[in-house]
Amino acid sequence: MDWVNAIVQGTLLGGLYALFAAGLSLIFGVMRLVNIAHGDLIIFSAYLGLTVVMATGLHPLLALIIAVPAMAAIGYALQRGILNHTLGDDLLPPLLVTFGLSVILQNGLLEVYTADPQKMDAGVLETASFSIGDLQLGVLPVLTFGVAVAVIASLQWVFYRTAMGRAFRAVSDNQEIAQLMGLNRRHIFGLAMALALAVTAVAGILLGIRTSFDPSVGGGRLIFGFEAVIIGGLGNLWGTLAGGVILGVAQTIGAKIDPGWQILAGHIAFLIVLAIRPQGLFPRISG
């Protein structure tokens, strides 16, 4: 029963990792950009949520109403202002610019909020639980998983059912021809980054309710998101959810064997997938 419990809890944790990964997966799918600052942007959103909660006294989940549009606006500005200038055949500029951005964000947060761990107080939501049979499920983890499924379903819908999604797929397939068809790729890339950071805002706030965070933990979140993307297969959003779940389950099983092994077990699961199926479990596009 303990093991079943570990697997269920790991699956729910995987929902959070899928949220970390969804933004990464989206921008890679649209513009082949890997954002090294993604983890720091997640933590930035958590701090943004915290600031809104402290200033207005709103419940952290309601802070999403402000954090999501704010992050989307930041994403659009970031893409148009900086990242669009780095795109091209050369791999180095986007990588190094987002790396620089990561250092700026991390130290900026450190300067403003200090290194003290922070946490958002969500009241009863944090401890509320219900039971199914012998399993005790926390309301928050179940809610997080539900949000992850909903976010991925809506991204999937946007991608394949809307005009914006069609534009995303067009610039992803061939930027020049998409331009000829009247799409402005700079604007499309801006929209994609806005959407990615809107998802990041959700991820950041759910993270901030679940655990404490400080400015230095962004790198770790980037790695979890990245592992979920690679395990699931590039370009497949549902695969990313599966990747997040596999990572979460590996971590909770690892923690069950020895608490010191939690994170390491996740990395090992990732390396095993890389060794036996480098294209990921459900790939859509080649890297």
Partner: protein
């Protein structure tokens, strides 16, 4: 007409470099202790930057996980001196050998990732190393351990002699690294590497084994990085997983150095290291603001002058201190014309 690699500037630079090297070798007789420490640190950062530049600037292997080998080398220094009883100098060489050995399976795994995903993959490896060493209680686990006094004393008699030895080791390592990079790039392998950098498809159609060339670069760079790591922690005398595998100290700073100085040139990391330390000595009191300034500078350089400071100098004056490229020179010989 003849094709040549040397130039007047390169000859002058070689003579100047040799003189500078002599001045640096005798530093223990003219420099103070604090200056020697600082110079030792500069040498080690220059070595790390040159190695990262070889990987990222020439082989297209952009890694944000070289701290894996810095930390591994440091831990191997501790393990080999404490458990095997090697002297520290032998242990540094041992760290290099072990670094090469461990980098082989790592390369086999992460070479499956392309481009930016390769970069994050290297970071995962570094995290795996950090978490694994944190589990090893014999080496102090998560809180780390110090190098026993007995081993430190065995290096040389007296503090001054020890400090001079550790300075010479750092100088020796950086000279070896830069020479190795230079000779490698002048060799047949280096030519293959430059071809890959310029156009992978064209290079492979000429029969260059891209995978093998990159693999060799990765293993050599990792081995040398492990040796530098061993030296870094021989100077620090204390190691812990967080310090050994710090992404900020051993990768972020190194990337700044290479980007600001000029990626894909041997001169770039040298200029970058000098600029980095000049900035650090003047701005370090600002703490986090200093790091933000570094980030902004790196982004601006990448957007406005992606070849870095040395790239600007080279474009303006056509200088090349380490003669790598070929030029056509007109000779006065009448028969040739």
């Amino acid at each position: 007409m003849r094709v040549t690699r040397t130039s007047q500037a390169a000859k002058v630079a070689a003579i100047f470099g040799a003189l500078l090297l002599i001045v640096l070798i005798v530093a223990p007789w003219w420099a103070g202790r604090a200056d020697m420490r600082l110079m030792g640190e500069i040498f080690l950062y220059l070595a790390l930057a040159s190695l990262w530049n070889l990987m990222a600037g020439y082989a297209g292997l952009v890694s944000v996980g070289q701290q894996a080998y810095v930390g591994f080398g440091g831990y191997m220094l501790f393990a080999l001196t404490i458990f095997v009883g090697f002297s520290p100098v032998v242990a540094i060489a041992g760290a290099g050998v072990l670094g090469a050995l461990i980098s082989v399976p790592v390369a086999l795994l992460i070479f499956r990732l392309r481009g930016a995903y390769f970069a994050i993959g290297t970071w995962v490896i570094a995290e795996v190393f950090r978490l694994s060493f944190a589990q090893m209680s014999a080496l102090g686990g998560g809180s780390g351990s110090s190098l026993p006094v007995k081993i430190v004393r065995s290096m040389a008699d007296g503090r001054a002699a020890r400090e001079a030895l550790s300075y010479w080791l750092a100088l020796g390592v950086v000279v070896c690294v830069i020479l190795a990079v230079y000779l490698f790039l002048r060799s047949r392998q280096g030519l293959a590497l430059t071809a890959i950098r310029d156009n992978e498809l064209a290079a492979s159609s000429l029969g260059i084994d891209i995978w093998r060339t990159k693999f060799v670069v990765y293993v050599v760079a990792s081995a040398l990085t492990a040796m530098v790591g061993a030296l870094i922690f021989l100077q620090k005398l204390r190691i812990s997983p967080d310090a050994a595998f710090s992404v900020n100290d051993w990768t972020a700073f190194v990337i700044f150095i290479v980007v600001i100085g000029g990626i894909g040139t041997i001169e770039g990391p040298i200029i970058g290291t000098l600029l980095f330390f000049a900035l650090r000595e003047t701005l370090a009191d600002l703490g986090t603001v200093y790091l933000m300034v570094l980030g902004v500078v790196a982004i601006l350089v990448m957007l406005r002058a992606p070849k870095g400071v040395w790239g600007l100098i080279r474009a303006r004056f056509g200088l090349e201190l380490f003669p790598l490229s070929f030029h056509v020179k007109q000779t006065l010989d009448k028969k040739g014309t």
